[in-house]
Symmetry: C2
DNA sequence: TTGAAAGCGCTAACAT
DNA sequence: ATGTTAGCGCTTTCAA
C-alpha cells in the first residue's frame, strides 16, 4: 500500500502548521475561512483520509462496538446486525462482527481479539451458558460493557434483552393442545443454552395444566441446526414414538425434522403441527404450514443499543433486563385464536 | 473504560526498560529467560492486552481485510464470510464486514470507512455495476487491492472470481426445453447487475438454438429479493402470459414468485418448473421441487483469498479472473440427465 | 542481553 | 487565528 498522505504533508505543502490543518479538517471554528477552504481543497485533491489508528490511538477512543453472534444461518441475527449497524452508524460507531459458529473457543478468540481492538462495548448472544463466563467477567471488569441478547445467561449481572420464552412456549403448547393434539413431542435445544430450559419447562407445565402425561421419552435434546433436526427426528422415528405435533427449539431444527420426514416419504398429515420458537422471515414465507414464534428482532436491536448507551454513560449504572414479547404466528390448518 | 495496562507500566513495575518488555511480549529471542518469564507472568496477572491501535499505527500494518456484500438474506454470502473469516484468521488477518443492502450509497460509505481504517485489501461483491466505479478506482490507485467476486464488473481491471453464469444458465434452459417446456418465462435480475445480462443472453440464445420464439414480453426485470419476485409474478399474471416454466434470477425472487402464486391459490402443476441461479442451502432443503444452480461458495472464498494474497505480495501483478463451474441441481418431477 | 531515544499521525493545552 | 510542543503505546535502530 502506498504511503497515505498525512496532515504533516498538507501542512508542509501549504506552509501552515499541522494544528491548523487538523483544526480545519475537523471543522473547528477558529480557522480563517480562506485557509480552511485552501486546506480542504488540497486534502480532497490529494485524497487525504484520516488515519483512524492514529486518531483512536491518540484519543483513546475507538468508537467500535463488537457484535458476537452464534450463527448467521437464520435471518434473525442477520436482521439484528443490519439494524444495529444502521443505528450505531448514525451515532458515529462502527462495528466488528464475529460469528462463533456455536463454538465457545471461537467465541473466546473473537472476544480477546475485540479486547485488543479496544472495542468500547460488546453485544453478545452467547453460544454456551457456562464455558466463557470467566472471559465475560474479565472484560466487564476491564470496563467493557457487555450487553447480552437472545441467548442470555442468568447468573451474570449484566444488561440483558431477552424474549418471553417461557410464556410464549407455554402459549404455543396451549394452542396445540386446545386444537386437539394429544401426542406432542419436543425437539428441545441443547442443554448449554439457557433458553432450552425455559422452553422445556413450558412444555412440561403446559402438559401438566391440561392433565396430559409428561414423558421424558418424548423430549429429544438436539442442536440448533438443520442437521440436528434431521438426526433428532430420526431418533424419534427409531423409537417409534407416535406424535401428532412437534414442538421444536429452533426453526432450523424444525425444518430439518420436516425434511427428514419427507425423505422417508412420510407424508405429514395436515393435523400434525410443526412449530417452533424463533422464526425467520425466509422459512415463514417458504413454509406456509409451520406455526412459529417470531422474535421482535428490530425491537431487540433497539433495546440493545439503548442499554449499551446507558452503560457507556455510566459503567456502574444498573443492569437492566428487558423482556420482549414475542409473537405467535399460526400457520396451521386448524387455526385457533391466539 | 478503565485505562488498560501498557508496556510502560510493566516496565516500570519490574524495573526493566520498555524495549525489553516489548521484546519479551513478542517472543524475540534475545531476552534472558528469567526476565522473559517474569514479564510474561506479570503481564498475564495484570491482564495485559496489546493495543492494536498503537501497534498498527506504529507498524503501518493493520492486518484487516474488508468484506463488502450486497446482502445477507441468502446463505450464500453468510457462508462465504464464514469461510473467509476462518481462512484469513489462520493467516493472522481480521475482517470488517459491511452489508450494502443493495444500496450503492451505503456501499460507498462503507468503502470510505474501510479506507480510513486502513484495511489492507477488500473483497467485494458489488451492488451496482456503475455507480461506485470511481470509488473502486480510487481505492485501487491508493494501493488497496480490491478483489471482486460473484457480482463482478467487467470494465474494471481487477482480480475477479465469478461463476460460469452464461453457460450454466444456458444448460438450465436446455434442460427445461428438453424436458418439454415451451413457454418459459424469465424473471430477470436488475439491469445494474452484470450477471443479469449474461443470464438474459443465455435465455435468448437457448430459445434460439431450439427455434423457440423469443419474446421480450416474456422477460420481466425485477430486483433480487423475495418481494421483487412477488411483484414480478404479479405483473406476469396481469399480462396473462401463459407459462410452463419460470427461470428466475435469484432464489429469493423465485421463492417470492412461487409464494405469490400460492397466495392466489394457483396450484402450480407438477410440470411447471421453477428454477433459478444462485441457490442457497436453506431453500434447497426446504423446497424440494425447485431446480437450482448452486454456486460453489467455498471454492469462491478460497480463490478470493488466493487472489488477494497475490495482490498483497505484488500490487502490480496480473489481474487474474477465475471462473468457477456452478452445479445444476435438478429438483423437478421430470428429471433429465445434466 | 539490555537500555535510550526517535518517531509513526494526530490532538489539545498552551503560547502568541 | 495560528503555531509550538508534548505525548498517546509501541517497535526498532543504535549504542552499551
Amino acid at each position: 500500500m502506498k504511503n497515505p498522505i498525512t496532515i504533516n504533508d498538507i501542512a508542509f505543502e501549504l506552509g501552515v502548521s499541522k494544528s491548523t490543518v487538523s483544526r480545519a479538517l475537523r471543522n473547528e471554528p477558529n480557522v480563517k475561512k480562506e485557509v480552511r477552504s485552501k486546506i480542504l481543497a488540497f486534502a480532497k485533491e490529494k485524497g487525504y483520509t484520516r488515519n483512524e489508528y492514529a486518531i483512536n490511538f491518540r484519543n483513546k477512543s475507538t468508537k467500535i462496538i463488537g457484535i458476537v453472534v452464534p450463527e448467521m444461518i437464520t435471518s434473525f441475527y442477520v436482521n439484528f446486525i443490519t439494524r444495529i449497524q444502521s443505528i450505531l452508524y448514525a451515532k458515529g460507531f462502527h462495528t466488528i462482527i464475529s460469528i462463533s459458529n456455536e463454538n465457545p473457543d471461537i467465541e473466546k478468540d473473537n472476544l480477546l481479539m475485540m479486547e485488543s481492538y479496544r472495542v468500547e462495548g460488546i453485544l453478545i448472544s452467547a453460544c454456551h451458558n457456562k464455558k466463557n463466563i470467566d472471559i465475560y467477567r474479565r472484560l466487564i471488569d476491564k470496563g467493557i460493557p457487555l450487553i447480552f441478547f437472545d441467548r442470555t445467561i442468568d447468573e451474570l449481572a449484566v444488561p440483558k434483552v431477552k424474549i418471553d420464552d417461557y410464556i410464549k412456549s407455554f402459549f404455543m403448547m396451549e394452542y396445540l393442545i386446545r386444537s386437539g393434539r394429544k401426542q406432542i413431542i419436543h425437539l428441545a435445544g441443547p442443554s448449554y443454552i439457557q433458553n432450552t430450559l425455559e422452553r422445556k419447562n413450558a412444555y412440561r407445565d403446559a402438559l401438566e395444566k391440561f392433565h396430559l402425561p409428561f414423558n421424558q421419552e418424548n423430549i429429544i435434546e438436539s442442536g440448533v441446526n438443520f442437521e440436528d433436526g434431521e438426526k433428532a427426528m430420526e431418533a424419534f422415528m427409531k423409537k417409534q414414538i407416535p406424535f401428532d405435533a412437534i414442538f421444536c427449539f429452533t426453526e432450523m431444527s424444525a425444518l430439518g425434522a420436516k425434511s427428514f420426514l419427507q425423505k422417508l416419504h412420510y407424508s405429514i398429515p395436515e393435523d400434525v403441527a410443526i412449530c417452533c420458537v424463533s422464526g425467520t422471515v425466509l422459512s415463514s414465507l417458504v413454509y406456509p404450514t409451520m406455526t412459529v414464534i417470531e422474535q421482535p428482532v428490530e425491537l431487540m436491536a433497539d433495546y440493545c443499543v439503548e442499554l449499551l448507551m446507558e452503560k457507556l454513560d455510566n459503567m456502574d449504572g444498573p443492569n437492566r433486563t428487558v423482556v420482549l414479547e414475542a409473537k405467535m404466528i399460526i400457520r396451521d390448518s386448524t387455526k385457533v385464536d391466539e
